[in-house]
């Protein structure tokens, strides 16, 4: 085995990333690269899994059969996205069990947006349009990521999230163009509650984002939080306003010189409160995950017992 010096390995690793090569399981990587990826990918996986809950709550109350089928397909996708991501994290040497334990024990983080309640049906539509829209911005960047398994999971997820975005936006457009006054009021109320938490999804300002420099250097992230947030609001604000909706930001203005939308200050105290577990729904979300885990125990036991029985009968019959 040729044991080149760590500095030389690091240099070769950074040259590979500069050439646009993907780092694959088995390739040399700095411990910090592995640690940052495990942190990011596992949080991302947990976000997909917990993300099933706010929308899943509305499946029994969907207004018609089509909307129910669409919502079920969407929630099923989120479960699948969690699986893609747990797989990607596993290639870095952490077990899925360790990740699930961390989530259930409340040690793991996940996207703060899912600690807000879905109070009305229009919230499902806003999650599709703005929450998934914001997620797509971030995930499109991560599809370029230097780590092969994470990049591939992101390519697959982005293709599916576009459906989530469109079904949500379709509902908002419909309610605002052909809906009743009550439907329009429901949509506006949803926007009032989801607007600011959605903007927080992009993460702290670049100046308060301690992990960003190393993530950028190694091609895990290729764009900054503020950059993505600005691009997103520039694209979506005109669409929201065109529907006759009011964005709950008294400081909002369009800057004619830079041709960009300027938002007022984000309440970062609220963001950090939610991240630290004090959001409106943190306790409920974890309790729901724990209940699902406990309720599924008999299924896991049954399939394990069946697998054991089949295996032993195969040996018995000499197959």
């Amino acid at each position: 085995m040729i044991d080149s010096a760590p500095e030389k390995k690091l240099q070769e690793f950074e040259e590979r990333i500069a050439r646009g090569e993907k780092i694959e399981p088995g390739d040399w990587m700095p411990d910090e690269y592995r640690r940052q990826l495990i942190r990011m990918i596992s949080q991302h996986a947990h976000s997909e899994v917990v993300g099933m809950l706010p929308e899943g709550a509305w499946i029994p109350h969907a207004p018609n059969l089509r909307r129910k089928m669409v919502l079920m397909a969407k929630v099923q996708d989120e479960a699948g996205h969690g699986q893609y991501l747990y797989h990607a994290a596993e290639t870095l040497g952490i077990s899925r069990e360790e990740m699930l334990d961390a989530l259930l024990a409340g040690r793991a983080k996940y996207s703060s947006i899912f600690n807000y309640p879905t109070l009305a049906w229009a919230d499902v539509a806003w999650i599709g349009w703005l929450v998934d829209g914001a997620a797509i911005k971030n995930q499109t960047m991560l599809a370029q990521c230097s780590y092969g398994p994470y990049s591939r999971a992101m390519v697959r997820i982005c293709a599916e999230e576009t459906f989530h975005y469109k079904q949500g936006k379709e509902m908002i457009v419909k309610y605002m163009t052909t809906g009743s006054d009550a439907q329009k009021a429901m949509v506006q109320d949803g926007l009032n509650r989801w607007w600011w938490p959605m903007l927080m999804m992009f993460g702290p300002h670049d100046s308060d984002s301690p992990n960003s420099p190393v993530l950028m250097r190694w091609g895990i992230k290729t764009r900054s939080n503020d950059d993505l947030r600005q691009e997103f609001i520039n694209e979506e604000i005109p669409e929201v306003l065109a529907l006759g909706l009011t964005i709950p930001d008294p400081d909002l203005l369009f800057d004619e010189t830079s041709k960009t939308w300027q938002i007022g200050p984000i309440n970062w105290d609220e963001f950090w409160q939610v991240v630290r577990g004090n959001g409106p729904m943190n306790a409920e979300r974890l309790a729901a995950r724990q209940k699902a885990h406990d309720d599924g125990r008999w299924v896991r036991e049954a399939v394990a017992a069946y697998a054991e029985k089949v295996a032993s009968s195969k040996y018995a019959s000499g197959k």
Binding site: G20, A73, H87, S95, E97, S151, F163
Partner: protein
Amino acid sequence: MSDTQWPRYEVFKQDSPNQPHKAVGSVHAPDAEMALLNARDVFARRPKAVSMWVAPASTILSMTAEEMAANPGWRMVSETGEGEERPFLIFTKTSQRRSMTFVTHVGVITAVTAQEALATAVANAEFDAENVWVWWVVPESAITRSDPDDQASHFAPAADKTYRQQSSYGFVGPTRKNVKRET
């Protein structure tokens, strides 16, 4: 084996009859039969899929070009193999382009050990080793395949549910005309 950490199976999906199987990711399952069912739910919610294979991750020999270069001794292991020859499926990754799939099935090699199969593949011009970034060698006996008779029931629902396809929504925006009436 604990309650939630079943063995990991790698999943290979074939999109259409003329295409090779490609690695798409992994699932956990207590046996291969459940692994195939989980794989269908996780990786074939949409078209296209006509066939899937699963293999326990523990049976797969994986080597990157970088690992081979850093550890030239990997070939030596193959010379110690004794026993009967058996078929191994060879998979390679040959591109750095953005993709949702990993290694692609490119052939079968008969050998005594996986290392020997890999050494044979690397030496065989057909596999174009110069342009391979990652090799996977999977004993054919470790692979469980979806039943062709089940193809329709197993994969067709993914194609029928057009509301899962972003393309079925067309362009969605405030200027969109002809908003369909909800029933």
